[in-house]
C-alpha cells in the first residue's frame, strides 16, 4: 500500500485494491464464527493460517503497514473473531519481536487480569523502563472465569527476556491502536446486527426499524461506530502520533458501555440469546473498554499529548 510519490493528493478514504484483497483473504482464513461458541479456547489453527499468510508475525516495514494491520484487526473483530491479532499484527511486529506465537499484552504493573493469559504462548510485558517477553505456560498462568468473550487470567512469569531497543511508550501506543481497532470493529458489528434485526422484526404491525424513536438511537450508535472506525484508520496511518492514537482509542471506547446497554435494549429479550449472538460484540466492548486504563486514561493522554507535550 505505497503512498503516491508525486506530491499530489494523499488523503484517500477508499480502500485500495491491495487492502481490499488482503481483508477478504483474512476474513476467508478465519471462516465463519458461530453465534454461540466457547469463549475459553482460541482457534490456534486459524491463528496459524493468519501467520502463514503474513497477517500476524510480519514486520511493519512499509508506509501504510500499520494501517493495513489495523484494518485486519478491525475486520476480524467485526467478524467476532477471538484471536490476539492486535498483538500479533501490531504490537509484536512494531517492537521488533519476531515469531508467530500467540501473544498476550500486559502492563508490568497489572498482571492480575490479562486478556488471553491462559491461551497465549508468551506475554509482551510493558514496564516503565523497557519491554520484556515472558514465556507462558500452565505453571505461570491462572485462568479466571468471565462471560466477557475473551479468555482472561493472571500471569506470573518467572523468565523475562528484555526486548532490545523497545520503547515502552511505543509499545503502549501500538497496544492502544490495536485496542482501538478491536473496539471499532466490535462497534460496527454490533450496530449492523441490531439495524438488521430492527428492519426485520415486526411489532405493532410494522418493522421496529420504522419507529423514529428507535431509528434515532441506532443512528446515533451508527454515527459513533463510524467516528471510531475512521478515527482508528486515521490514527493507524499516523501511528507515531500519540494524540491521534489516544483520541482514536477514546472515540472508540468512551461510549462503548452506553452502546452495549442501548443496543441490547433495542433488541429486547431476543438480544440476550446465544444464537442471536449480539453478545459477541457487546460483551467484547465492555471487556475492551477496561483495557489500558479505559476512556479516562485515553482522554488524559490526549490532553497530555496535545497541550503538555507529554508522551504515554
Amino acid at each position: 500500500m505505497p503512498g503516491h510519490e508525486d506530491g499530489g493528493l494523499r488523503v484517500d478514504f477508499d480502500l485500495d485494491d491491495h487492502q481490499t484483497t488482503r481483508l477478504a483473504e483474512a476474513a476467508a482464513l478465519v471462516g465463519d464464527v458461530p453465534a454461540a461458541y466457547p469463549t475459553t479456547a482460541v482457534d490456534r489453527d486459524a491463528y496459524a493460517r493468519l501467520a502463514d499468510a503474513g497477517f500476524v508475525g510480519r514486520p511493519l516495514l512499509g508506509r501504510g503497514d500499520h494501517l493495513m494491520a489495523a484494518l485486519v484487526v478491525e475486520e476480524l473483530s467485526h467478524l467476532a473473531v477471538v484471536l490476539p491479532v492486535a498483538a500479533g499484527a501490531l504490537v509484536a511486529p512494531g517492537l521488533g519481536i519476531p515469531g508467530r506465537s500467540l501473544f498476550a499484552v500486559a502492563d508490568a504493573g497489572a498482571l492480575g487480569l490479562v486478556r488471553y493469559a491462559g491461551q497465549a504462548d508468551a506475554a509482551i510485558v510493558i514496564g516503565t523502563d523497557g519491554v520484556d517477553v515472558a514465556q507462558l505456560g500452565p505453571e505461570t498462568t491462572t485462568d479466571a472465569e468471565t462471560a466477557y468473550v475473551y479468555p482472561i487470567g493472571a500471569i506470573e512469569p518467572d523468565v523475562h527476556e528484555r526486548v532490545a531497543d523497545a520503547d515502552p511508550c511505543t509499545a503502549r501506543r501500538l497496544w492502544r491502536l490495536g485496542l482501538a481497532a478491536e473496539l471499532a470493529g466490535a462497534l460496527g458489528g454490533a450496530v449492523e446486527q441490531v439495524a438488521a434485526y430492527l428492519n426485520e422484526r415486526e411489532q405493532f404491525g410494522k418493522p421496529l426499524g420504522s419507529l423514529q424513536a428507535l431509528q434515532h438511537r441506532v443512528a446515533e450508535a451508527f454515527a459513533a461506530a463510524e467516528a471510531a472506525r475512521w478515527f482508528v484508520r486515521y490514527a493507524a496511518w499516523h501511528h507515531d502520533d500519540e494524540e491521534a492514537v489516544a483520541a482514536a482509542a477514546l472515540t472508540a471506547s468512551d461510549r462503548a458501555h452506553e452502546l452495549c446497554m442501548d443496543l441490547h435494549q433495542l433488541c429486547g429479550a431476543r438480544g440476550f440469546t446465544l444464537d442471536f449472538g449480539l453478545y459477541r460484540w457487546t460483551l467484547r466492548l465492555e471487556a475492551l473498554r477496561q483495557e489500558l486504563g479505559g476512556p479516562d486514561a485515553h482522554a488524559r493522554l490526549v490532553t497530555a499529548a496535545r497541550w503538555r507535550g507529554a508522551a504515554g
Partner: protein, 379 residues
C-alpha cells in the same frame, strides 16, 4: 487508503497562517464565524484572499479558480473559520452556491455569478425555511407563478442569515402549484433589489448571528434566473445542502476555542487536574473525530460522488464536538462565561446553532437511519 497532506497542501496552510498573523486585528478571533457578514474589513479580506487565489482555489481556472484540489478549499475553510471567518458570509458562496451554479447554471448565469463570487465582492443569502417549512423543507409553499418570461413570486422566508447584506438570494419556490413535497420545486437566483422584496430582522437571543424574514410580494423574477430545470430543483438543493452541512468547518473553530481554553487552564494550573484533563481530551477528540469524518465527505466530493450519506454522519459528529467544547468552556469559566462575548458565551450560542443550521440534528439521524441502515421512513 491513506491520510497525508501533500507538500503543496502543507505549504498552503503555512502561507495562510502567515497571512492571518499579519492581517488579523487583535481580538478578531473573539468574533463568532459569520458574525460579521459583510463589513468593510471582511470585504477587504475577501478581496485579498481572492487576489492570492485563496477564495476559490478549487474552482476551474475558467471560473476564477486555480484548478487546485478540493483539499485546498478544505484547508482554507479550516484556517479562516477557526479564527472567526474573514470572508464574512462569503464562505457560503464558495462552499456550495458557486458549485451549484457551476453544476446546473446556464452559461449566462455562470458568467454573471461566478466571477463576482471568485473575486469576493458579492453576498448571498439562502431563501430556504418558511414559517411552515423548517425541518420539513420540502413542504415549502412560496409560490412562483409563470407569467410569460417571468415568474411572479409570493411568499415568506424566515430565519434567513445574511439577508440584509445580500445582493442575491438562492431561493427555493414552488413552481408547480399542484405539487406537494419535493416535486414541483424550482430554484431562482434572485437579485435582492427587485421591487416587492422586504427584509426584516427577527430578534433572537443569539446576537452573534442575525436572522431575517424576507417577504416576497408580486416579485417579478426573469425566467432566466431559474437554476436548473423547472420543478426539478429538489435534487440540486439536496446535493447543495449536503455540502452546506459540512461547508463551515465548525470542528476547526471548536478546536481553536479549545486551544485557547487550554492555554488559560494551563496558566491557572488547572490542566493538571485529572478530571479536567479528561474533559479537555474528550472535547479535543470529539472535534478531531468531526474533522476526520468531514474529510471523508470531502474525499467523496473530490472524487465527484453525489448523494452519499457521509455528510449526515459528519454533521452529527460536528454537533457533538461543538457541544463538548461549549459545555467545557462554560464550566471552566464559571460565572465569567456569562459575560457577553466571553469565549464561553459565543461558543455556547454557536453550538446551539450547530444543531439546527443546515438541517436539524434529528434530520441527520433520520437520513442516517434511512440511507445507511436501510430503515423505512420513521413513524
Amino acid at each position: 487508503m491513506e491520510f497525508e497532506w501533500s507538500d503543496e497542501e502543507q505549504s498552503l496552510r503555512a502561507e495562510l497562517r502567515a497571512f492571518l498573523d499579519e492581517e488579523l486585528p487583535a481580538d478578531w478571533d473573539l468574533n463568532t464565524p459569520g458574525e460579521d457578514p459583510s463589513s468593510v474589513f471582511t470585504r477587504e479580506m475577501a478581496g485579498k484572499l481572492a487576489d492570492r487565489g485563496w477564495l476559490t482555489p478549487h474552482w476551474p481556472a475558467e471560473y476564477g479558480g486555480r484548478d487546485a484540489s478540493a483539499w485546498a478549499f478544505v484547508i482554507v475553510a479550516e484556517e479562516l473559520w477557526a479564527v472567526g471567518e474573514l470572508r464574512g458570509s462569503q464562505y457560503m458562496n464558495v462552499s456550495w452556491i458557486g458549485p451549484a451554479i457551476m453544476a446546473a447554471g446556464t452559461e449566462a448565469q455562470k458568467q454573471e455569478h461566478l466571477g463576482p463570487i471568485a473575486r469576493g465582492d458579492v453576498h448571498w443569502c439562502q431563501g430556504f425555511s418558511e414559517p411552515g417549512a423548517g425541518s420539513d423543507l420540502a413542504s415549502l409553499q412560496s409560490a412562483a407563478a409563470r407569467d410569460g418570461d417571468h415568474y411572479v413570486v409570493n411568499g415568506e422566508k424566515i430565519w434567513t442569515s445574511y439577508a440584509r447584506q445580500a445582493d442575491y438570494c438562492f431561493l427555493l419556490v414552488r413552481t408547480d402549484p399542484t405539487s406537494q413535497g419535493a416535486r414541483g420545486i424550482s430554484i431562482l437566483l434572485v437579485p435582492m433589489d427587485l421591487p416587492g422584496i422586504t427584509v426584516e430582522v427577527v430578534p433572537t437571543m443569539l446576537e452573534i448571528h442575525v436572522v431575517h424574514r424576507i417577504t416576497f410580494r408580486d416579485v417579478r423574477v426573469p425566467v432566466s434566473c431559474r437554476l436548473g430545470d423547472e420543478h426539478e430543483g429538489w435534487g440540486l438543493i439536496r446535493e447543495a445542502l449536503a455540502y452546506e452541512r459540512v461547508g463551515a468547518p465548525r470542528f476547526a473553530r471548536g478546536a481553536y476555542v479549545l486551544d485557547r481554553l487550554a492555554e488559560w487552564a494551563s496558566d491557572q494550573g488547572l490542566l493538571d487536574d485529572p478530571e479536567l484533563a479528561g474533559r479537555f481530551g474528550r472535547a479535543r477528540a470529539a472535534c478531531q473525530a468531526a474533522r476526520i469524518l468531514t474529510y471523508r465527505v470531502m474525499d467523496d466530493r473530490a472524487k465527484g460522488r453525489p448523494n452519499t450519506p457521509t455528510p449526515y454522519v459528519a454533521r452529527v459528529a460536528i454537533v457533538r464536538g461543538e457541544r463538548a467544547v461549549a459545555e467545557l468552556g462554560m464550566d471552566l469559566m464559571g460565572s465569567e462565561g456569562l459575560l457577553r462575548r466571553s469565549r464561553a458565551d459565543s461558543h455556547v450560542r454557536t453550538a446551539m446553532i450547530a444543531g439546527l443550521g443546515g438541517g436539524s440534528y434529528e434530520v441527520q439521524l433520520n437520513l442516517i437511519a434511512r440511507l445507511c441502515l436501510g430503515m423505512k421512513t420513521g413513524a
